[in-house]
Structures are given as C-alpha cells and as structure tokens.
Subunit: 378 residues, 2 copies
Amino acid sequence: MKAGMQAVPVPFTSEDYAARMARLVDQAVDAGLDGVIVTPGPDLVWLTGYRPTAVTERLTMLFVAPNMRPTLLVPILERPDAEAADGASAIGMTDWVDGTDPYEAASRLLQPDGRFGISDSAWAMHLLGLQSALPDTRFGALSQRLPMMRALKDDNELGRLSLAGAAADATFEEILKVRFAGRRETDVAADLARLLRECGHEQVDFTVVGSGPNGANPHHEAGDRVIERGDAVVLDFGGLMHGYGSDTTRTVSVGEPSRELREVHEIVRRAQQAAFEAVRPGVPCQEIDRVARAVIAEAGYGERFIHRTGHGIGVTTHEPPYMVEGEEQLLQPGMCFSIEPGIYLKGRFGVRIEDIVSVTASGGTRFNNTDQALQVVE
Amino acid sequence: MKAGMQAVPVPFTSEDYAARMARLVDQAVDAGLDGVIVTPGPDLVWLTGYRPTAVTERLTMLFVAPNMRPTLLVPILERPDAEAADGASAIGMTDWVDGTDPYEAASRLLQPDGRFGISDSAWAMHLLGLQSALPDTRFGALSQRLPMMRALKDDNELGRLSLAGAAADATFEEILKVRFAGRRETDVAADLARLLRECGHEQVDFTVVGSGPNGANPHHEAGDRVIERGDAVVLDFGGLMHGYGSDTTRTVSVGEPSRELREVHEIVRRAQQAAFEAVRPGVPCQEIDRVARAVIAEAGYGERFIHRTGHGIGVTTHEPPYMVEGEEQLLQPGMCFSIEPGIYLKGRFGVRIEDIVSVTASGGTRFNNTDQALQVVE
C-alpha cells in the first residue's frame, strides 16, 4: 500500500450535513422547486449520514425545503438507528407506526400545490402513495431537476475519492502477482474482493473478471470460465472506502498478447488519454465522450464501443454527471467521474481502460495512476 | 445439518416462468389492469429468473400484458446477461443504447390510455419518465393492485422455503454452541453469516445480534457492544437459499436468566404460539396480528410491541401478505409468512420469537422448528 493510504479523513460533522442541506435549499429554489424529497440511498447518506440497515417497503423520507427545519419521517422501529446518524442533530425527526398511513404523515410535510424533486431511486410505490395523497403536487427526479446536487466535491470528499482510488490501484498491483491461467474467473474475482478490503475498502461493489469472449460483454461480472493462456482479461473493480467510491479498469494479457490485442489495447489507451486531456472547466460532458469515441471510430472500431464514456462518482459509483452524447452540462472544478472507453469484439475479447478523474482549475487529475500499458500476467 | 437439507430442488424451467406470466396476465385483467410493468428485483426474478448483477440508473423493464409476448427492455450492454436468464426463452427482448431515450422505447410497449401495475421498488426516476412520456397512462404499485401476485407458493417453492427454514434452524443449533460472553455482537453476527452459508445459503441478508439494551431496538443489526453475562440477546437472521428466503428469531440468555426475562420471554412465546394456532384458510391477516397482540396486551406489555406481527416471504424476505391491523386479505393455502411478536423494554432488553409459517388446507405448518424455550448460552 502507498504511504498516503494510511491517512484517515476528517469525519463529517453535523455542521457539514447542515451546510449541505442549506445549499440544497438554495439550489432547489433556483431550480424552481418548493423542496426536495430524499429516500434511503446515496442522497440520504450524503445529506444526513444516515444509511438504514436495509431499504424496505417501510417509508423513510427526508424533506428539505425553505423556511422549515429539514425533517426525517421514519418508521418508529427504525428511529433509534436514525437518531444515531452522524447528521441527526441537523434534522428534525418524526415517526409513523405500522398499520397507519405513512403517506398521510408525509403529506403534512409537503406543500399541496408544490413542485418537489425526489431521489431517483425512491420506490415507485412511495411516489405513487404521495401522488395519491397529494394529487396537485408535482414531482421530478432529482437527477433531472438538480443533477449537480452532489457533483461538486469539497476537499474532504476529494481526499476520500483519492484514497479510494489509491486503494484500488494497490489492489491492481497485487492482482498482477496472482495466477490467472487455469483458475476460474470467480477465483480471481474473490482475490480482487479480498484485496480491496485489505487495502481499506469497507464495501466491495463489483469485481468484473471478463476473460476471453466474456470480456466482450461489458457487464459480465465473473463466471465459471477457466482462464487460459492467450486470454485478454478485463478487470473492473471497485467499492466504497470511507464512504466514497473507487472504480478502475485495466485489461491484462495472460501470457504474451497477440498482435491484434496489442493494437486494440493501444487504441483504447489512446482514447482514454485523449479524453483525459480534454478535461478542463467549461468543456461540455458530451465532449469527453466525443473525444474518446472519435479515436476509436477513426481506428475503425466505432461500432464496437457500445456504452457511454463515463459516469460521476461520489458516495455511490454511478451518479451525474454522465459523459454521454447529449449531456451539455459544463465541467466544473470538483467534479469527479470515470473515463472508460472500451472495444468489444463479440465472441472473442474485450478491452476497457478506466480511471477516475477529477476536474481541477486548469485541467484534470487522475485518482487512478497504475500503468496503462498492457500488462502480462501468468 | 439435517438429512433433508441435502435435497436439491427441481430447477424452474422456461415453462414455469411462462406459466407464471400467463397467470399474471389473467390476474391483471381481473384487477382491471391493461398490463404489468416489472423492474429488477423480486418480481423480475420470480417471473423470468433474471437478476441483473446490479440495479442501476439504466432502465430495465419487463412488460406483461394480454395479446402480446412478454417483452424485456434492456440496456444493450446488459442484453447478454438477460439472454442467459433461465426464463429468457419465455420472453421477447429489445434493447436501448446509451444516449437514447429509454422511456420512448418503453412507451412503445404500453397502451397510451392504459392502467398498469408497476413493481413497488421500480425507481421513481423511471416511473416519472414513463409518466412524462405517457401522460394519459395510469400506474399503480403492484403490491396495491396485485398484492397476491407472488403470495401463493407452489410445491417447488414450498420445498425451497422449507429447505431454507431447515438451514436457518441448523444455524441456530450451531450458534448455541459458540461463546457469547466477552465477544462483540459483530463477532456473533459473523458466526451467523458463516453458518448460514455453511448450511447452504447463497446469500445472507441480515444477522441481527441485539444484546442487552440493543435488543430493545427491533432493527438494531449488530454493533461493537461486548456481550455480557446476564444479557438477553435477540438473534434474527436469514437470507436466500435456492433463491428463497429464511427468517427466524430466537432470544437467548447469556448465563442464567433473570426472573423478568423468563416472564417476558414466556409472554412472547405464548403470543407466537397463539398466533400460529390461529392460522387457517379464510382467516384475515389482521386477525393473526390481533391474536398475538392480545396476548401481549393482556400481560400488560401492549405498548412495548411496536411492530406488526409478520410479513410474507418468498424470493424476497419482506413481501405481501402482511400480518398487520387493517389487512383484510384472507389466508389461503400456500401463503408463507413470519409470525414474530416481540416486547421491547427501552434501555434494558428485548425479546422476539419468529418462525416462518405456511398455510395448509387445515391450518398452518412451521418451516422453523427449533425449541422455543429460552435457551441459555455461555
């Protein structure tokens, strides 16, 4: 592990959470909203530090609006957990009991003819309950109405993302030393998960090991396939460390690579580098996608790059801003996102290279810094 | 492990999934719906066998309606995974590409002025996207519109729930042998997780270890508290085995119990037994709750039983029917649910006893059968 990884971030305080909620109120008003409705998941963790042990059918909702104290509605039996959250002293709390109507309780915290943003991952059941209780209220997804709510990271958050990236890099350095040939993808995936934890992650979210033809399926996780000499293997892994995400991809060759693998890998590497070099404040997100795509298209593989170039990262590993055609949002210092072009040759192999990048005043900086040259493993 | 636990259930076939979708169409029509919209989670697993590796912001939706082949809309990069699902040959498939509008693609599969049920846990963002694309379409939560969709288990499902229950029971028998006093709750929780896996679970969902005052918080998971002699400890654990859930609770005493703990435990045991004996076809769900609550109220602890008596269980560990005041649904053979009364004495201790119960033609049968007497551990 690198020396810097031992650093422990300063804990977020109740004042930090209060400040986030206060800024959110201002942003909501600017966006023409009367308030924001937040449900368990990344929005709630970011605003209050509260992460229920499970997201269930029982309604938990935070209401943030001008001229009121932010208020969390919780099932009574989850109230002790909510009261133990780091940001609990920054919010009011009210509860509801099994057998009563939680939407009636929620509607008392909303303006009946108001417009509200609601967490993307709020359950449809809960939104329908609110819509039924308040037929004149209008709702919009937070990622549509306030897509930049969590996008600009402060120094503490940047520090955590940097630590998570360094831990993922240390994981990659270690995985290069394990045996690939003759072992199952799931065995290497288990190594990745173990290493992420050993390097400091408290949560492992994904450990993609896509060997040979499986690498041509970008969302293949890891299967029973036994890795063979001559395979390209896509390794895409990450999780949470100090509450913030890591996500990096390298493609390795088991034994000496074929000429074609070298060529395809070099195209992807050039696409990743070109997109990285395009990062600076004021550039539209879609431009990052276009730059990466142009390199791959010019090399004749445009049809084989079948996903967007990147996604934001923070308290969760997929969030706005997205580096995708049609996203006109301008990059600003403090935004963090993946740059992960790939080429997928169906039935044969895939190559993807991914770093997390942060926008600085003058350009971009990488939170992943392992060698992008094609590494050979045993 | 018990001898029966080595049995392996017959795999669900494409025909099984097709039959479930065909029955769902009939039920939807009977409920006045024009179709059903299903998103990743328990509904989708139950109908198609497809469980995406992650539930993300990218839209995946199954459309089931009369006079059309059930059709799954997937992100193109997840299509290979979807095509590998056990029920894939029972459905049509169509995909969408990053940067295009998935709701436009979805709206082509829906009747513009229709009424549709939608999975409870569908993301609000996706429901809002559909509502925006189809302003005249009406949506209702599936647990409201078709609450019994997954409630009546067939023999294969009952067999799996029985196996999961037996594995949870074997876990409890083993945990009685470990040391409690002087170890942290998280240590015992780790033992429970390991034992559940050793006994055949492929997924561990919760391992509650609520010692002393922590047991008085029904949703406490497990913390740093060091368990002491004299503690009551609530053990509530479960997960998935062969895709079906387990969920059982026993409260144990570390060393000899106090007279008060014995008394409270006996009240909860009698409440659990009385509710179990009330189970038979034709009884309203709320009656099960009332029977358990009456025993506890008569003993003077009515205010200390702060949650419903139970929840359904199947491919997920919380689903309809709920044993709660106001739920008038009548019990039918094949329904499976928890009976889990409890008494919570704030700041001191809690007691809960939980078995999974299945409704038979003549009454109820337990899938958990460990001794309900108060067990003493070291």
